[in-house]
Assembly symmetry: C2
């Protein structure tokens, strides 16, 4: 146990050190615990998450094809995929989306073999957490998971991932909300703890961390929150582009 | 008639002069007959065209809402809209897509009042022409329009537009194909004349011209054509992002 903890601490330190130069050079919108990701030729990139990632993507046959517009949804994953495919035309990237609306950590865990490990991604991006908090609030929802369940479950998921896919680079997107629409004052500070847990997990595993909440807070100083998210949870087209830009900035 | 022709010539000249500094400053991927477009607050932007613009957009209620992800399709119009909405959050832009698969100039003319004039766009972007040529080739298609029909019909459409919407800024996208998939050597040089006609019309009306074909030719020197278009007519996600970038570069 101790040696694992040390290994994780060292990974985190290594991640931070690698990330430092890029962090200093970056705009405030970007921060990464690991350095910018270099995409090898033929790299498989996989987006995992909940409805924000799913964003109405087609299931079935389109989903078996990489870079399929229908299978990538209409959100940040689609926009980030378009930007990467344009930016790196010689790299022969293969981009997939396996986000599913309503998912929480236990849902990802339940379909991890089929929907993540089987795709053997070179880069795995995960955005998860808002439902882990939100669903636990709803009196009519049987989900009773706690913050600790989220953190432990997330850690277990990444441990499994590191074991099964040791070479895979991991991008963790910070779960985010904006206090508008569905999201009331009552969400805070409880929700903030989920964000902190995601950042902690990113550091433990030396993952690249996309600070989505900071990016959204930043632009919400001057522009009303509902320009970026109608309901405080899902992104508008402007919000999705904002997030896609932050995501793409993690790459060399 | 003479005075109209002089007016058009003068407009074209004015457009060229205004465009000159931006043309000199721009990358080869961009050229405009008119200068960069300044977007006023609350500007309505409308994309018109055929399947390349349509790109699977939702009809009905979503289409009545500006900036609706489903109603913007999954092509260059969607990507350009996302980029503009992110870039100009304070401008309160209202972006619509009314492209319809299979459309030619006569189809646009037939629905111009309802689908263009009624929306009172501040910026009107048109991409039309590939079907005007393609459908005239097909022995089983009753369409028998010629190059001259395309040019005359396009000119009539823009005359109507200038009369009904005198303040609207017009963006003309060059019709394009790549010699791959459906598009064979037999398409040339006949198809090139349609491109030239579109450029001529843009100059006559002082419109901003997006040189899509040059942009595609440029990137196809190093990267296989089917990376940008599977069938030579419709854009892949990478191709759509390429085109969206060229389109967005027309704005201040």
């Amino acid at each position: 146990m101790n040696s694992r903890r040390n290994f994780l601490k060292n990974s985190a330190l290594f991640g931070s050190l690698v990330g430092l130069p890029s962090l200093l050079a970056s705009t405030p919108a970007r921060a990464a615990t690991a350095g910018p990701i270099d995409l090898k030729k033929g790299a498989v990139i996989l987006f995992q998450g909940d409805s924000i990632t799913d964003s109405g993507r087609s299931r079935g046959r389109p989903a078996s094809q990489p870079n399929n517009s229908d299978a990538l949804g209409k959100g940040y994953a689609f926009l980030a995929a378009a930007a990467l495919l344009r930016k790196y035309p010689g790299k022969d990237l293969k981009i997939f989306n396996r986000g599913i609306s309503g998912n929480k950590i236990p849902d990802l865990a339940g379909r991890w073999e089929k929907d993540t490990v089987a795709l053997q991604p070179d880069v795995l991006s995960i955005l998860i957490g808002v439902n882990d908090y939100w669903h636990s609030l709803r009196s009519n929802n049987p989900y009773k998971g706690t913050l600790q369940d989220y953190e432990n479950g997330f850690r277990d998921l990444l441990k499994r991932t590191k074991e099964k896919l040791p070479g895979t680079k991991i991008v963790l997107c910070e779960p985010f909300v904006l206090e508008t629409g569905t999201v009331t004052k009552a969400w805070f500070p409880a929700f903030d703890e989920y964000r902190k847990a995601a950042r902690k997990i990113a550091e433990e595993f030396g993952a690249t961390f996309i600070p989505c909440q900071s990016v959204l807070n930043d632009v919400s100083k001057d522009i009303p929150k509902n320009y970026w998210s109608h309901d405080g949870i899902h992104l508008t087209l402007a919000g999705a582009q904002l997030m896609a830009n932050a995501w793409v900035s993690a790459f060399k």
